[in-house]
């Protein structure tokens, strides 16, 4: 049966992979109960390392493990995986192109209660700016399962961005994940909506609400590498483009699509966090709504750009 939570999908898939591949090791920084690293810890205690509340050390230790042929996955909340350990990732893992897999759990606004300190709106920008780095942001739990399998197979550093909360799948179960390949979830010719992560589901709902406008919805689950030719081809007959991401509008999906289209530009609207930090809320929906990350905001953006 399909999972409906990316963290669960991640934890279960690591356990599944670890059964066959003894080189897979998992490191946690006292958040294994949340990142679901605890599942691997329970299954293979000898290949799971509790590194304590010390993300910098965890990340460099993973680099050392990779240099002895292991495939380490480091787990923490996205703010810490990329923020706290940025220098460790840059200096040793990215420059050295080491085979370390970095998981940013509870990314975006998905840790709604904890507020700005724990909500991560800049991880895609941070990781995208690093040479040699692959950046993944799966749409749902189904895609997470496949993305994690692909991460373990590929050689080199890779970051995966995961959501904390339960929500329904929009992608097909068991579909092989190809790095760098966006997938069209709904065909349409006037407006192309590029969405990533949780926003993919909202983009689908928005498109269904607008029968009068022909909207194509593209799930962009690889933020890097992103080939300009592929993006150009997807928009070549369209009038305009909308991007939707649970991330700052600077440096994430919107930025990446803009860069990809800079030689053959189209009018664009960004749906994303408008260069502000998050805040606490009692539930996920409220924090998304407050920051302009709803189906309605996508509908509005499509209308706005369609009228141009």
């Amino acid at each position: 049966m399909a999972y409906t939570n990316q963290r669960i999908a991640y934890g279960k898939t690591l356990v599944e992979l670890g059964k066959e591949n003894k080189d897979i090791v998992v490191l946690d920084a006292d958040l294994g109960g949340s990142t679901m690293g605890k599942m691997f810890e329970e299954a293979y205690p000898d290949r799971h390392f509790e590194m304590g509340i010390a993300e910098a050390n965890m990340t460099s230790v993973a680099a050392g493990l990779a240099q002895t042929g292991k495939i380490p996955f480091t787990n923490s909340f996205a703010v810490f995986s990329g923020g706290r350990a940025f220098d460790q990732i840059r200096q040793t893992i990215a420059i050295g192109r080491l085979n370390v897999k970095i998981c940013g759990s509870s990314s975006g606004m998905s840790d709604f209660g904890d507020g700005a300190t724990h909500q991560c709106i800049e991880d895609m920008a941070i990781f995208r700016a690093l040479p040699n780095m692959t950046v993944l942001c799966p749409a749902d739990a189904n895609e997470t399962v496949e993305a994690v399998k692909t991460m373990a197979e590929m050689d080199g550093p890779c970051y995966i961005r995961l959501n904390r909360n339960d929500y329904p799948n929009v992608t097909e179960e068991g579909k092989k994940f190809k790095i760098g390949q966006p997938t069209v979830l709904k065909e349409g010719k006037d407006i192309v909506v590029f969405a990533t992560g949780y926003m993919v589901g909202l983009a689908m709902e928005a498109a269904e609400e607008l029968p009068e406008i022909s909207v194509k919805v593209v799930n962009v689950s690889t933020i890097k590498p992103m080939k300009a030719e592929i993006i150009e081809e997807l928009v070549k007959d369209a009038k305009a483009v909308v991007t939707a991401e649970e991330h700052n509008i600077i440096g994430g999906l919107g930025g990446a699509i803009s860069e990809a289209l800079c030689k053959n530009p189209k009018p664009m609207e960004y749906v994303g966090v408008n260069d502000t930090f998050g805040c606490s809320a009692h539930n996920y929906k409220d924090v998304l709504s407050y920051h302009g990350l709803t189906k309605e905001h996508i509908v509005e953006a499509i209308y706005k750009i369609a009228e141009l």
Partner: protein, 274 residues
Amino acid sequence: MSYSKELVQSLENQAKALRRDVVVSIGVGVAGHIGGSNSSADIVAALYFHKMKYDSRNPKMRDRDRFLLSKGHVGILQYAALAEAGFFPVEDLKTTKEIGSYLQGHPDVRKTPGIEAGTGSLGQGLSIGLGMAMGLKLDEIDRNVYVLIGDGECNEGQIWEAAMAASNFKIDNLVAIVDKNGLQANGRTVDRMNSEDLSAKWASFGWNVIDIDGHNMEEILEALDTADTVKEKPTVIIANTVKGKGVSFAENVVGFHNGVLDETKYQQALQELA
């Protein structure tokens, strides 16, 4: 433990050769890290020319000891050792820092044979070494990981994260060597950021601590061999050294952390190391 006169003499000569290589690598008119290279030279000579098992023709040999230069700014010293050990030609040392050279200002794992991981952002090498030591244990490969760190580098918090974790995991195939030359980039360590009592700090983190004169070859060899006998905990060798050792005008001079040699000083340095 006792060591033959021949062994000690030959390692002292190797250390001198490394110091000469460092001066030649730096050359005239370009800044280079002569101070911290020369303070570490005896330790590096003991590791590369006696203690460590490796194959310079097969740098990725599975069953090898590993050396990490956490104080990566003295990459020229490690390059000298790698060249003298046969990983690449000694003549190439002169290309260090040239555009396109495989010898970068700081060790680059993708460019230079024999480099185990990129280092230079201070404070990270011990953690990387810990990861390697853990990986070797998982594979039941009975080899050691040696990590050379600076006393100034011990300002970095990550050193202590690694120190805590290594003793937590009872890692005994990891040996840290602190090149305690007493100077950091901007002055004396006791004046800039006093990290004393360094030995007591390591001991309190659960490490086996050995204090030595880092220029006394017999003490270096004995400390490295003793580390092998200590089980269930990591060992740190606190090597008391002189920054710039062997070049009179650079000894204990803060300015030669990353200093420039003019033609006269270059010749004088080579003469003193002859």
